[in-house]
């Protein structure tokens, strides 16, 4: 076979395989829409379930997940920013840095059920928060750290060295340089990372299993020390634990969860694209 023929064949092959990667994503989304769309309506989103979860909507689970996601952001944001600033700005290559980096890599590899058990032991029992939003948010917060720290570090490192040099030459301290030049320029990138992390956290079931989730709790939580329903766990319960559960409600719930996570990812992508377009250096 001639070189040109091989060339064309390989390009065709690689393109085909690349397309195959996209297919499952599209199929999952289409499948959820096809099966779940009929269950979706205003009432489904705004009422609590009743009749052993078989009837009514998903409002407490949906709002529970929204609360939980916000609380996770509040936990994750300061920890991740501090770690990213340390790694990107202050850390020389020493034992502590290597330990921090190793910890981050390992955190990313821990199975989510292990986070759940850790959250149960550390926050629910040892720190005495009980099954509560705060225990869940702390657990999910740790779960999101690897992705948030690495995106934030990347965003900080992307700020050109030149601006730090100029800032220092104007008599600013290291901290003032970080605070007034580096962080403002890195902020959109950092926010992207946090949203991506939250997208991951919002869809997790195992970490909230023992730390926050209630099977059935029609009232909304009144404080962060209350239990709450949550969408992924609710989906797990109605899909496995409730005999005679209408399929359309299961798919409808899955569809809402999927849309929630997808919209978070979409927002992150839009912010990221905007930074790339408006980056002026």
């Amino acid at each position: 076979m001639s070189r040109q023929k091989t060339n064309q064949l390989m390009i065709a092959l690689i393109t085909t395989i690349a397309i195959i990667v996209v297919i499952p994503v599209i199929l999952v989304i289409l499948f959820m829409f096809y099966n779940g769309l009929s269950a979706l309506n205003w009432e489904f989103l705004t009422t609590a379930p009743y009749n052993g979860l078989r009837q009514g909507g998903i409002m407490p689970a949906l709002l529970g997940t929204v609360y939980l996601t916000f609380a996770t952001a509040i936990v994750s944001f300061p920890l991740a920013i501090a770690a990213a600033i340390y790694l990107a700005e202050y850390a020389r290559d020493n034992r502590l840095t290597r330990a921090v980096r190793l910890a981050i890599v390992n955190l990313a590899g821990i199975p989510s059920i292990v986070y759940g058990l850790f959250g149960l032991g550390a926050f629910v029992l040892f720190m005495g928060f009980g099954t509560s939003i705060i225990a869940g948010a702390l657990t999910l917060g740790i779960l999101t750290l690897p992705v948030v720290i690495s995106t934030a570090e990347e965003a900080i490192l992307a700020v050109p060295q030149e601006f730090r040099t100029v800032s220092l030459s104007l008599g600013a301290t290291r901290w003032q340089t970080i605070r007034y030049q580096v962080l403002p320029q890195a902020l959109p990138g950092i926010i992207t990372g946090i949203i991506l992390g939250l997208g991951r956290a919002a869809g997790e079931t195992a970490p909230i299993l023992f730390t926050v989730a209630a099977v059935y709790l029609p009232e909304l939580p009144k404080s962060i020390f209350d239990q709450s329903m949550a969408l992924p766990y609710h989906l797990y319960v109605i899909a496995t634990q409730v005999p005679g559960m209408p399929l359309s409600v299961q798919y409808g719930t899955a569809l809402v969860l999927l849309l929630l996570v997808l919209s978070l990812t979409l927002v992150a992508t839009i912010i990221r694209t905007n930074i790339r377009r408006h980056r002026q250096w």
């Binding site: 220092l168 030459s169 104007l170 008599g171 600013a172 320029q185």
Partner: protein, 251 residues
Amino acid sequence: MSNKIEVRNFSFFYGSFQALHDLNLDIQANQITALIGPSGCGKSTFLRSLNRMNDAIPGAHAKGEALLDGKNIYAPDVDVAELRQRIGMVFQRPNPFPQSVYDNVAFGPRVLGKPKKGDLDQLVTESLQNAALWEEVKDRLRDSALELNPGQQQRLCIARAIAIKPEVILMDEPCSALDPVATLSVEDLMRRLAETYTIVIVTHNMQQAARASHYTGFFWLGKLVEFNRTNELFGRPKDPLTESYISGRRG
């Protein structure tokens, strides 16, 4: 005429590599001192060692003394941020922050203290006037500094540097990224700034050094070969190396 900076037996090292060898020179107050020499001769290292911008490089250290008004820049009790407030710097590439014209000039005063709004406005106006940029930007103070042309950006960087009221301004090839017209306007500006400030400029352009400076130092392989009044150095170079470099036969 008084010495603003006195350099005595000054050497500078990057780790074990010696970049500067035993320099001795006096930088006169309110004069423009040009540093010339081929790339890698140490002139930029010397410039950056005067406001300790090399400190961040691991392994970098100095020997000997560089005295600013009689006080060693490398003394252990020197506050580096304060030193940099007294010795400002303008860089090779125009590098305004990706912020408004106003915020660029106001950055230094803001980090050094908490100026009142009215005072800050006044200071920004004065700095832009002294940098010969005010007329061009007075209606664009809130616009992004990146919308200015390169020549304007470089004058903005000068305005930003003088807004913190330094005593010395170090300029590291400030015109190498500019076209000839913008270059001449920056040189004009330097001459006027020398009435108030002491200026040290690194340049690759020997015509520029001859045109715009009062004193010139010629660096070669980390050593200061010759230092003299500019017209002396270019008119009657004492060292044959200087002579061959400025006449274009070496370098």
